[in-house]
Symmetry: C2
Subunit: 280 residues, 2 copies
């Protein structure tokens, strides 16, 4: 697997692939690869002739009190997995390669970023949209892949790409879960045995909440049900449990689908998120 | 001359040109074409195989009290001139084609936009950077052309393109002047005979200020000299007259070049800007 550290190297290699008529798929990651990532690389492989995977723990999307330093860094192992799943090139830039000392440009999506994770992680989505805009400009892919586990991120990136007329298709990929329902996440490795045992409560609660929405509960009732179920574990503390419209993230003024049920919880210092979309 | 109204039409035509191996030059304008614009189309023609000119009076870069409605609109005449100078395609979208009703994404360059025009036109540069990012994503040119008359705009666009790794070369083009030194501008058509007669004072003042900088005056002294010379006309009112570093727009802590001398003045309701760069 070629690990390319420099932007010019990526441009050159991708440009050569494109000149041969290859379609380009791109999957940006923070590394810490698990089966959720691998399923997305396989998907990109199936859709495209040439697949670029970036591994960059982007500092501008982490808050000052967040887990930037603890975030799993395992570049060689990640690159090996990316290769096995059909990746053609891993782009793993340094911070200095990505950000000039006097970098001053930001891409911001308003509205969609005011709620859910955006309400609790100020600056997070600005960091995400800015770095994704940069990566898309470096790779110039035909398709870029984002996981539905970070559902708000997927909406925000889609809106950015549409609003800025980016010449790329944004593809959302389903959440991959452990056998007990826990959504796969690089942060699951932080969990103690007790926390890990409690963690499936997120998906159990979302499943119950979804059933309640289908049975005519209001958004507010579903939110309370999800919150109570999770807090009953006593190991997990809910940051938010929201039932919102799955495209606008507005509070629904209707009963029933479509509803996005989304939660963020803390297990000790570890923050976990999950969501489920109830469609008509 | 083909006038294309829709984004997909531009993408298709430019894509065909690129598929034939043509290089693409792009010149975004607000219309109201004069010799300054035409010189830039000729420059784009000389540098590239295929030249796109956009004509779009972008509402998001005008303030509420500014001259959006009065801005000259003369699409057919502009397109004819663009063709004569070697333009291959004019892109003239509607507002609805450019902005979805729920558009929520902005590109912002911080710092550089705090001074000069940015200090007096809140939101202006955010409107400019956002629409230019969109246009660049639609046209995907190899080179894009911006006039040095809007010197701060050129710096801001350059910074945006660099910070966001946009795959485009930003080319600055020299200001074109009338015989008496007045910088060409679409807004010159607003001037009364008396205002028009006074207007060359901008460039005269900048020329004097530049000489003063070369002779060892401080930035502050040069600013005062420029301001006094223009206000002596009694027809022109100075909004700002600044002497700043021509790349960072910081206040210089040194004597002599490099210095950007930049002015904005009002002749009645008409706002005129001009600048001169004193290099080593």
């Amino acid at each position: 697997m070629r690990i390319v550290r420099e932007i010019e190297g990526v441009r050159r290699t991708v440009g050569q692939a494109r000149a041969k008529g290859n379609s380009i798929g791109f999957f940006p990651t923070l590394g810490g690869m698990h089966e959720g990532h691998l399923s997305m690389i396989r998907r990109a492989r199936a859709d495209n002739d040439f697949v670029v995977v970036s591994i960059f723990v982007n500092p501008t999307q982490f808050g000052v009190d967040e887990d930037l330093d603890a975030y799993p860094r395992q570049l060689e192992a990640d690159a090996g997995m990316a290769e096995e799943c059909g990746g053609d090139l891993v782009f793993a830039p340094s911070e200095a390669e990505m950000y000039a000392a006097d970098a001053a440009t930001y891409v911001e999506v308003e509205g969609l970023t005011d709620v859910l994770c955006g309400a609790y992680r100020p600056g997070h989505f600005r960091g995400v949209t800015t770095v994704v805009a940069k990566l898309l400009n470096i790779v110039c892919p035909d398709r870029a892949y984002f996981g539905e586990k970070d559902f708000q991120q997927l909406l925000v990136i889609r809106r950015m790409a549409r609003d800025l007329n980016m010449p790329v298709e944004i593809v959302g990929c389903p959440t991959v879960r452990e056998a007990d329902g826990l959504a796969m996440s690089s942060r699951n490795t932080y969990l103690s045995a007790e926390q890990r045992q409690a963690a499936p409560a997120l998906y159990e609660a979302l499943t119950l909440g979804a059933e309640a929405v289908r049975n005519g509960c209001t958004a507010g009732e579903a939110e309370l049900m999800v919150r109570d179920y999770i807090e009953n574990t006593s190991v997990l503390r809910v940051q938010y449990a929201r039932a919102l419209h799955p495209e606008t993230l507005a509070e629904p003024d209707y009963i029933g689908p479509p509803i996005l049920l989304a939660v963020a919880v803390f297990a000790g210092d570890t923050r976990l998120i999950d969501n489920i979309v109830i469609r008509e």
